[in-house]
Amino acid sequence: MTRTVALFVTCLVDLMRPRIGFAAIRALEAAGCEVVVPEGQTCCGQPALNSGDRDHAVALAKQTIEALEPYEAVVVPSGSCAGTIRCHYPELFEHDAVWLPRAQAVAGKTFEVMAYLDEVCGWRPEGVALDAKATYHDSCSGLRELGIKAQPRRLLKGIDGLHFAPLKGEETCCGFGGTFCVKYPAISNAIVGEKADAIDATGADLLLAGDLGCLMNMAGKLNRKGSKVRAFHAIELIAGMGDGPAIGEEA
């Protein structure tokens, strides 16, 4: 049976690193899914929601719900965007009898991409090889809102030649925090500076994570400090696209 899934690309992947979206499609198709990209999507509204701008958050949530509700499942290459839809949309419409059931319905069928591949499809990468040492950072929203921890590791285990160096403080926030990193840049810098040092200390070639925002923050800091560690979204490796340019490398 073919599963038809809608890919919610996320605004950051759309804008900054499209190949994460294509990697998600490739992996989902390899797992036997038919992937569609709904037209009406833009951003899930998380920046407005986390800034206290409830009206705009509600408006964007409604737009996103309308775009995604026709599909049997929604897959997102980001723990924090998936977390917004799964956990926070129902909260937003807590007192709205019309929109609450619609928000709950979409929330119930929305998955982070690696969790979907692992838990729903029971899929593992086949014939994917990459000779490298990687370290993994657990992005906070995925970890704490969706329980994403073992799923990406199980999928990455299927890549021949890839081995792992544990990251000290792998569950410690990298200091991105959405608008936090530009509102309080000095504090954010202190946090990501420690994270970059910890990443460097692993001796890994690759930094992997499941959220582009955190990855851009860590990769940007690593590059500024002259580190040689290269950063990828884990789904890129899982889809067999780990031989391409890392974040911040020219294609």
């Binding site: 906070c140 504090i187 800091k221 500024r224």
Partner: protein, 470 residues
């Protein structure tokens, strides 16, 4: 709030803290150790998650029935011989305490560390009334000598290194330590404090718990200073927030197990004492009078205005010990009585949101605080509640309001959004070199400290459409 007028903004205080490398060492030593020890204690505890559920349920129950439990407590405390006073504000609470001290003819009081006392500004009120104050908790003693404010709710002097404390003792103690060991320093503090403790006219403490069915109050310390400073004086005054109530001893014991483990990783504090009324006929020691001042100071309002879950807080400090922001800037930068995540939720209640709106925003919403909270307070949700209020009340900067408003306006028009994002990535393309952008207009906060990866020449949506057409 007591103490010197602090005119610096949150960002200025945070910048000062970030520049202070000694502070970083001090915070890391204490919070790092606490984090490690707590993890060990929680692992060894059979089903800590279920224990957290129970702790949260106990607190929710008493907060929902606060009036009834407080009345029960009052009746039992009176029956045990204590006098119970009610204070709705911080000023009223201080006035009650000062009046009791004056009636007792007190020249000096011995105080056992209490964050409620700090919250209501009691040290300041005592000074204004000309009453001498001896802080008997070792860390509070350090803070008093340095004329500072606590920077952590469990370790008020956590911002100081032992090297700094040694220098302070040598400057201020009458017969300071000579040997540079922690034991010698502790001995120096003991020499300094013990006579002052025993000579105090009144002992003042807070309460970790108020036990409704016995009228007892409970204090926990690791130094025994509460016992030593509360039993000898003629009068014992307790100041406690009304949310400290628990129905009975078994509930207090459950909360104690959560409190000690969450705070320090210990199974129990060194000293856990229950005080029920003043000295009774036949007792060999104890105060002649015991006064309990029950303080509201915004708590009833919190319950009514969406912050009821915050009243579960048992002041363990786990949220701040595990907070990436606190670990970088320490407690003083928060500017309120309570620092860290719980302080960021509480400070707007006491000091006003206008003064403290930064606190809720200076958080990455990573959720670690909620994960370690022994009473499952949804701290990130409560912080987002303050952000929403701040947005509604127009306290957020105009640039942020306009920027977010414009972005949301475009994001609600998918066709226009596609055009705009296409233009944006091509504009960013021009700014970058070798895959990275080191200076980005309007994103200086980002590029000041880190590089921005150059986006691909086309957005995902552009590439996807092109592929599908082929």
């Amino acid at each position: 709030m007591s103490g010197a007028v602090d005119t610096a903004t949150f960002k200025e205080r945070a910048d000062m803290a970030l520049a202070d490398r000694i502070l970083k060492v001090a915070v890391e030593r204490t919070a790092g150790t606490a984090e490690t020890k707590r993890a060990v204690a929680v692992d060894a505890f059979p089903d800590f998650e279920a224990a957290r559920d129970r702790a949260a349920a106990i607190k929710d129950h008493v907060v929902a029935h606060l009036g009834a439990y407080l009345e029960e407590f009052e009746a039992n405390a009176i029956a045990a011989g204590a006098k119970v006073h009610w204070a709705s504000t911080a000023d009223e609470a201080c006035r009650i305490v000062i009046d009791i001290c004056k009636a007792a003819g007190a020249k000096s009081v011995a105080r056992s560390k209490s964050m409620l006392g700090e919250e209501i500004g009691l040290p300041h009120a005592l000074a204004e009334a000309g009453i001498g104050r001896v802080e008997t908790d070792l860390a509070e003693h350090i803070i008093q000598l340095a004329d500072e404010r606590p920077s952590h709710i469990i370790w008020p002097a956590m911002h100081k290194t032992r090297e700094q404390v040694s220098a302070l003792f040598k400057a201020k103690h009458r017969s300071p330590h000579e040997e540079e060991t922690i034991a010698a320093m502790a001995e120096s503090a003991r020499r300094e404090l013990r006579t002052q403790m025993l000579g105090a006219d009144v002992g003042i403490s807070g309460a970790n718990f108020l036990i409704a069915d016995t009228g007892a109050i409970c204090t926990v310390t690791n130094e025994g200073n509460a016992e030593l400073s509360l039993v000898p004086p003629r009068v014992h005054i307790v100041t406690a927030g009304i949310e400290k109530i628990v129905p009975s001893m078994p509930h207090a014991i459950h909360m104690l197990r959560m409190l000690a483990r969450s705070a320090t990783g210990a199974a129990l504090t060194q000293y856990t004492t229950f005080y029920t009324g003043p000295k009774r006929a036949g007792d060999r020691d104890g105060p002649e009078e015991m006064h309990i001042v029950l303080v509201d100071n915004g708590r009833t309002k919190m319950r009514e205005e969406g912050l009821a879950e915050m009243l579960r807080c048992i002041r363990c400090g786990a949220c701040m010990n595990h907070c990436v922001v606190f670990r970088q800037i320490g407690g003083h930068a928060y500017g309120g009585t309570y620092p860290g995540p719980m302080g960021a939720v509480l400070t707007p209640v006491f000091d006003g949101l206008k003064q403290s709106r930064d606190l809720a925003s200076a958080c990455t919403l990573n959720g670690k605080c909620q994960e370690v909270c022994p009473v499952r307070i949804p701290l990130p949700t409560l912080l987002k509640g303050w952000r929403e209020k701040s947005w509604r009340e127009g306290l957020e900067p105009t640039s942020m309001r306009w920027g977010l408003g414009l972005w949301a306006w475009v994001a609600r028009r998918p066709a226009l959004y596609r055009l705009g994002t296409g233009v944006a990535v091509r504009a960013m393309q021009m700014l970058g070199k070798k895959g990275w952008i080191d200076r980005l207009p309007l994103a200086g906060g980002w590029t000041r400290y880190r590089d921005m990866p150059k986006p691909a020449p086309q957005t995902f949506m552009e590439q996807y459409r092109k592929e599908r057409r082929q």
